[in-house]
């Protein structure tokens, strides 16, 4: 299996505060990796560095053979390979669900309108929201909006999907419907890096868990490490999760 995402000794600071203190990991094609850790452990920052929403100070990041840390990187080419879903959905409120999904395929891939609408319908079927194609985001619940955000990302057929605490703004009931979509995606072979607080998801869907602590990869392994942590920090973290 070839690595789709590769981080080596990544350092990232905001001013004097070092958030990532030498992070290294790899994600293979088709792998689902759950990144867990406390707030401020650097897990979201690490994720945002992968599609260069944040620049790093030193180290190496490679995605689908592209050097993300290279200043000459073709950013738009990178972002066609990497989809990202945010905690706050970030749908475009002035556009219908269809327009939200088809905007990028039409502008970036020059897809014809009819073809794009079919694509939108197909993506919405995947997230179970076919009937909402002509609605506006504000007419949808948080969980539905997040599923549309996933569909919007999928419409660009990315090779990797990043999820940044996508259920943290949702109540437990709505969390479930989003996680089910993500689990189906995982079963379908999508390469996924999921920053999450949902240990249930990590157990069920992740091939591998990365526990981050104080800007470092503290412990990593199959999801069984959640039940059998090796470091006192992960033990402590898991104890607080229950």
């Amino acid at each position: 299996m070839s690595a789709v995402v590769r981080l080596r000794d990544v350092h990232k600071s905001y001013g004097a505060v070092e958030v990532l203190k030498g992070v290294s990991f790899e994600v293979a094609s088709g792998e689902v990796v759950a990144v867990i850790g406390r707030s401020g452990s650097g897990k979201s920052t690490a994720l945002r560095c992968i599609n260069r929403l944040e620049r790093i100070q030193s180290g190496m990041i490679e995605v689908c053979g592209r050097r993300v840390d290279d200043a000459a990187l073709d950013l738009r080419a990178l972002r066609q390979e990497v989809g990202i879903v945010f905690q706050s959905y970030n749908l475009f409120p002035h556009l219908t669900i269809e327009q939200n999904i088809t905007l990028a395929p039409r502008r970036v891939k020059r897809m014809a309108q009819r073809e794009a609408r079919e694509l939108a319908a197909e993506m919405l079927a995947k997230v179970g929201l076919s009937e909402k194609i002509d609605a506006y985001p504000e007419q949808l619940s948080g969980g539905q909006q997040q599923r549309v955000a996933i569909a919007r990302s999928l419409a660009m057929s990315p090779r990797v999907m990043l999820f940044d605490e996508v259920t943290s703004a949702l109540d437990p009931h709505l969390t479930g419907e989003v996680l089910r979509v993500m689990e189906a995606l995982a079963k379908g072979g999508m390469t996924m890096i999921v920053v999450t607080h949902e240990m249930g998801f990590a157990r069920r869907a992740a091939n591998r868990v990365i526990f981050m602590h104080m800007g470092r990869v503290w412990e990593t392994g199959p999801s069984s490490i959640l039940s059998n942590p090796q470091t006192p920090e992960l033990k402590d973290f898991m104890a607080n999760e229950l």
Binding site: A77, Q80, G83, I84, S88, P93, L103, A104, R107
Partner: protein, 216 residues
Amino acid sequence: MGGLSLNYFLYLLQGMGWTVALTLLAFALGGLAGFLVMLARISPVPAVSRATAAYVQVIQGIPVLVILFIVYFGLGILEIDVPPLVAAGLSLTAYTSAFLGEIWRGAVEAVPRTQMEAAECLALTRWQALRDVILPQAVRIATPPTVGFLVQVLKSTSLASVVGFVELTRAAQVINNSTFQPFLIFGTAGLMYFVLCYPLSLWSRTLERRLNVGRR
């Protein structure tokens, strides 16, 4: 004595027409220039953004009347013949561009930053993101203050009277010079300004209310 004769009233109406024309001219050209000011102000190139900020500061820091004198008399000294309409149009365009540029920049920056982030993460170019995602949302935010500012532009056109452009205020002065009924003449002129401005103010307020309802 006696009231305002029909001829004088028609003369005032004609002046009112020029006031509207000058307003529309300044608003159209100033809006166009203001759009460029806004784009330059949000430019990721610091030099462009800073140079435009300086332009805005200079224009906003000088009374429109002084700008008008600079254009009208200043260019006159350089032996460039500037008709009053052109001088007034240019000055008000500069004034409008600086203020609308800032109003619109504020509106663009009021759109959550995450919208641009989401658009760029979908591989849209900065320009595509601006056109399809940011500007449509900014227009909604910017419309009430823009209409409100239109009232300011309309009232500022009265300054063109000092360089002899016969808009509403100048027309009133001309009539008053022969009839000596300042209260009646300028009162009528004032009423005409009010008739133009008040509906705009109402419209601006309605738009604002609608926007707030939309945002909940």
